[in-house]
Symmetry: C2
Amino acid sequence: MTSIEDLHARVALTWLAEPGTRSVHQLVGRLGAVDTLELLLDGGAPDDTLRATVAARLEAGDPRAVAAEAVALVDRLGARIVCPADDEWPAPLGDLERLELPGATRKVDRETAPPLCLWVRGGWPLAEVLDRSVAVVGARAATGYGVHVATELGYGLADREWTVVSGGAFGIDAAAHRGALNAGGVTVAVLACGVDRPYPMGNSALFDRIAETGLLVSEWLPGAEPLRPRFLVRNRVIAAGTRGSVLVEAAARSGAAQTMHRAIALRRPSMVVPGPVTSALSVGAHELLREYGDTRLVTGLAHVLEEVGRIGVDLAPPARGAARPTDILDDEATMVRESMPRRGTVGADVLAARAGVPVRTALRKLALLEELGLVARRDDGYALTRPPSR
Amino acid sequence: MTSIEDLHARVALTWLAEPGTRSVHQLVGRLGAVDTLELLLDGGAPDDTLRATVAARLEAGDPRAVAAEAVALVDRLGARIVCPADDEWPAPLGDLERLELPGATRKVDRETAPPLCLWVRGGWPLAEVLDRSVAVVGARAATGYGVHVATELGYGLADREWTVVSGGAFGIDAAAHRGALNAGGVTVAVLACGVDRPYPMGNSALFDRIAETGLLVSEWLPGAEPLRPRFLVRNRVIAAGTRGSVLVEAAARSGAAQTMHRAIALRRPSMVVPGPVTSALSVGAHELLREYGDTRLVTGLAHVLEEVGRIGVDLAPPARGAARPTDILDDEATMVRESMPRRGTVGADVLAARAGVPVRTALRKLALLEELGLVARRDDGYALTRPPSR
């Protein structure tokens, strides 16, 4: 359970510096949220960037007042604020402390510390719901193919009682959420803006359904705008909060691929659905499969369950065509059968010669073929009952 | 140059035992073709299976007579017989001596020795044409998607002066051959029957074009029928005779996948084109990519050239979306831009506060944005020239 002071301090710190800022997270770890806020407000930030950021934000308002105002909104929004000390807090987010993205130069790739607190709308306990969850992410400008696959995946996962986590965006995200909702399952939308105004507006009906039966989650205060960099900041929570991530469609430059980079760096199962090579919306998916040995090609629910399911359970069945009687034929039997005339009959001796096997072998195999109803014995020899497929 | 006796013996041995029989190949290596034939005809085969096979074939005719008859046909067929001692012989086929397919139980997977000789129809020197060749194989019941991709690949490879090798079957094989022909390039069909009666008949017009501008190749004597096991026996030649193999479409149970298993075991570049996970004709392709770490996902010509091309040359361009002016923006500039109102103007100080950066930083970034034509300075502040895409 979190003290009210600690709660307010965490909200204030989230407003003061963008979520994920490592230096802030480290200070909170050492001093606690209350003293960290104190320190920053006294201009005691450990580095110039943070000091400048704090100074700039202070021009916009008093963090304590902003936090108090935001916390006061909680009930009216039907929301709650979850902190690391609370039972609801998803422990796997702690892995973000050690997240390092290879060749990270951009701020959004470096400042990937765990959230200080999360705003949650919806009835379920967050940790419990995320404990058995899979992220399904992808392009906004999805194709009919991608939407179909994402919907099926969302439905199938929810049907197997897995929580479907995504970003609430148009295209693949929305399809995954909808699939889960249609299965009567739980789905979680992790937002890059306040939980009071889920973005995009076009999905507001979807967000309402999610808030009723699943969860809306965000690090940002109510009223926060979905600024572009925030989507990438948000993606680390989707990658860290789930058992694994599935990318359905992504163009060559894609935010969804960024989520996968985070999942890969976190050593979470990172799954990619391939698509037609003629589709621009699968270019990003194929590049991930080509460039990252850790990504796994998945073609559907069975493969995904195989990756995230517990060992021994949820194993994907091997791909198989329909079994044919001829499958059990050995080489000699096959050769004998293939050597028979398509029409008319043939003697065992001639057949043996054509098949290149001894006559007695030919007779043995002919008996087997007769057993299987592939060959019929006639007065003047043997005949095919149906032609072998080529 | 091969002696006429040696040539006749090799043809006779090919007729006596199916091509690829290891014991026969080893005997020929030790004793030469002439003495090996002698030995087998005297019932001196080293193992029962071979002895039985020989005995059975002898019931169908005299090998020497059959060989003489076949060789006599050569000129009338506009064909020639190429043996290992000839300049035309493709040396890479020698790798088949060491080919071992993991878990091989079926005869066609064990008897994978190099051919004793090859029947060739067409003007080009075989070794020269195969030296720079790629195999393109796949399903007969191909989809429009697969046919499109295979045709493009065949065209593109031929256009870059790579020989396109395939099996002359319906679907992917035919599409690859046609693509190469349309590019005015060289294509080679490796057959599982005599070069005098290419199978399937439905492709006879295609085979005629290939014989005119490319090559028809087979291990079997004229008149030999395309018995089912022979397609798999033939596949080892396609895999070993080329620099690499590309699989375009394959159902769950597929002969094309068998060619890939051989290419993988031969350590040749083994490339697979993914497809829609909703397509049964891509199931085999996706399974190869999932089960064999050595297979490479390729989406088109550039990727294939990267695999088979010489180091440093033919490198695939990285997948990229169209570059946008915003690509060069750093995080602060992006944040400043994203913090601007979609309509109307804003002052630098307010903007700095919203963006969480110092005012002087905001001014510096605003100057840059103005440079790029993304922001315009007005009397009462700054305005977006166009809304940022989200």
